[in-house]
Amino acid sequence: MGSKMKPLIKLCLLTLATTPAALWAQANPDIQARLTAVEAAAKSAQSAGDNAWMLTSAALVLMMTGPGLALFYGGLVRRKNVLSTMMHSFVLMAVVTVIWAVVGYSLAFGGDSSFIGDLRFALLNNVGSAPNADYAPTIPHQTFMIYQLMFAIITPALISGAFAERMKFSAMLLFMTLWALIVYFPMAHMVWGKGGLLSASLGGKIPCFDFAGGTVVHITSGVSALVCALYLGKRVGFPSDAMKPHNLVISVIGACLLWVGWFGFNAGSALNASGLASSAFVATHFGAAAAALGWMLAEWLHNGKPSMLGGISGCVAGLVAITPASGFVRPFPALAIGFAAGIVCFLMVTKVKQMFGYDDALDAFGVHGIGGTLGAILTGVFATNAVNDGFKDSAGKMLPLGWVDGHASQVVNQLIGVAISWGLAIVGTLIILKICDVVLGVRVPKQQEIDGLDITLHGEEGYILES
C-alpha cells in the first residue's frame, strides 16, 4: 500500500508544484498582454479625445485673428483704410508663424529659467508627436506648439488697433517682429513657461494665475497699444473730423467670431477636453454676455440709447477680462467679472480717453489693457480650487487659490504679475518704437494719410461699388 502510494504522492507533489503555475502559464500571460494592450488603447483614446478638442481650439484661435479681429478692427476705421487695417491682422498670421518656428516657440517654452526660454526647441527640434509632459501630457507636442502659436499671432494683432490709419506698413512689420521677441516671448515664458518667474503650476517664484492670457496677451498688447498711440500721435483731423466706423456690420461679424473663437482660446487653455475645459467654456460665455449687457446698460443710462457698437465692444471687454480667470472661477463670479469689465471699459473708452485726449484709434488700450488688468486682479479674488483642483501641497491636499478660498495674498501676486507685464510692455514698446522710427519712420506722410492707406500703401481699394 505504502509503496503504492509513493507515485501517487509524487504526482500529488508534482501537481502541487506545477498545476497552478501551469494554469497561470496559460491564463496570465494572455491577461497581462491584454491589459497592457488595453492600457495603451485607453491612453491612445484619451489622446484622441483631447487632441480633437485642442486641434479644434487651435483652429478657433486662428479664426479669432482672421477673419475675426481683421473684421472687428476693419469695420471701425474709415473706408479708405479698411484693407490696411485688416492687413495688420492678416500679415501677422504669416510673419509670427515663421518667427515662432525659428525661435519663438523655444524662447517661450524651452527650458526652465525664470525670464525666457532657451533654444532647445529652436527650428522646432524635438517637437514631434510625443507629448511634452511638462505642458500637455495627453496631446502631441506639435499640437501644443501650434496652439500656442495662435496666441502669439493674435496678441500683437491686438495692438494694431491703436495705430490704425496712420502707421507705415514696413515699420509695422519691424515693430511686430521686435515686439514678439522682446515683449511676448519673455512674458509668455515668465507666466506659462516651466520655471517662469510668475508660473503658477510649474514652479514660479511668484505664482500668478493667468489661465489664458490676461497678463501675457491682453495687458502686454493693450498697454503697448497705449504707448503706440501716444508715440505716433493723433490722426490728421482727430478729433474734429468725423471718424465714424465705416462698416459696423463687419465689425459685428468680427466680434461674434471673436466670441465663438474665444472658446478655443479659454476652454482650449485646459489643454484637454476635461471638465475644466467645460468650466472655462462656461465662464467665458458668461463673462462675454454680462459685459455686453454692462456696456449697453451704461450707454443706455448715459446716452439714452444702447448701441450695436456698444454691445460688441462690451462682449470683447468681457472676454478679455474673463480670460485670466476662466479656468479658476465659478459661473456667477464670471458674470460679475464680465459685468464689471463692461462698465469699467465703457468709462475708460468714453470718459477717461476723452479726458486725456490721446488717439487710441480702436481702443486697444481701453478694452484690452484695462480689461486685462481688471481681469488679472479679479482672478486673484475669485479663483477657487472648487473649479481648478490642479494645485496641491506635498501631502496632496488641495491648496486655496484666491481670496474666496481664504488666500487673500494671491491678489498681491496678481498685482505683481500685472505690474511686471505693464512695465515690460511700456519699456519694451518704447525702445522698439524708437528703433522703428530711426530705421524706417513709423508714420506715413500727411498726404498719404488723407488719401487713405489702402491706395497709398497697398495700391488697392476695399470696395468698388460703382456699376
Binding site: 478729433p239 468725423a242 471718424m243 465714424k244 466706423p245 450707454e299 446716452n303 440709447k305 448701441s307 457698437l309 456698444g310 465692444s313 473708452v349 468714453t350 470718459k351 480717453k353 476723452q354 481702443d363
Partner: protein
C-alpha cells in the same frame, strides 16, 4: 426747354415718379444726395464720440421738359412730394440751351 431739379425726401420718390408718369413725364434722372437746411439732423454716438449729423439723405430728381410743360410738372411734383413737414425740399428751375438724344442725334424738344 427748362430743367426742373427737385430735392425731395427719399421715401417720396416712388410717389413722385408715379405722379409724373401720370402726366406723361417719363424721362428723368435721379441721384442720391445729402441735404442741409432748416431740417435738424440727429445725434450719433460712437464709443462716446458724439456727432451731429446735419446732412440728411435726399433724392435729387432732374428732368428737362419743354417750357410749356414746366409749370404743370412743378405743380404735380410739389404736390406729390409734399408732407408739409420741414425737410420736404426744393424745386429749382433752369434754362436749357440744347438737348441731344445720343442714340439718334435728335435735338431740342424732340430729344426729350
Amino acid at each position: 426747354m427748362k430743367k426742373i431739379e427737385a430735392v425731395i425726401q427719399p421715401f417720396k420718390l416712388d410717389e413722385v415718379k408715379e405722379a409724373l408718369k401720370g402726366i406723361g413725364i417719363d424721362g428723368m434722372t435721379i441721384g442720391e444726395v445729402r441735404g442741409h437746411g432748416r431740417q435738424k439732423g440727429h445725434k450719433e454716438v460712437y464709443r462716446g464720440q458724439e456727432y451731429n449729423v446735419d446732412l440728411l439723405p435726399k433724392v435729387k430728381l432732374e428732368m428737362v421738359v419743354s417750357d410749356s410743360r414746366a409749370d404743370e410738372v412743378i405743380k404735380t411734383l410739389a404736390a406729390a412730394a409734399r408732407t408739409g413737414k420741414i425737410g420736404d425740399g426744393k424745386i429749382f428751375v433752369y434754362d436749357v440751351k440744347e438737348a441731344i438724344r445720343i442714340r439718334n442725334d435728335d435735338r431740342g424738344e424732340s430729344a426729350l
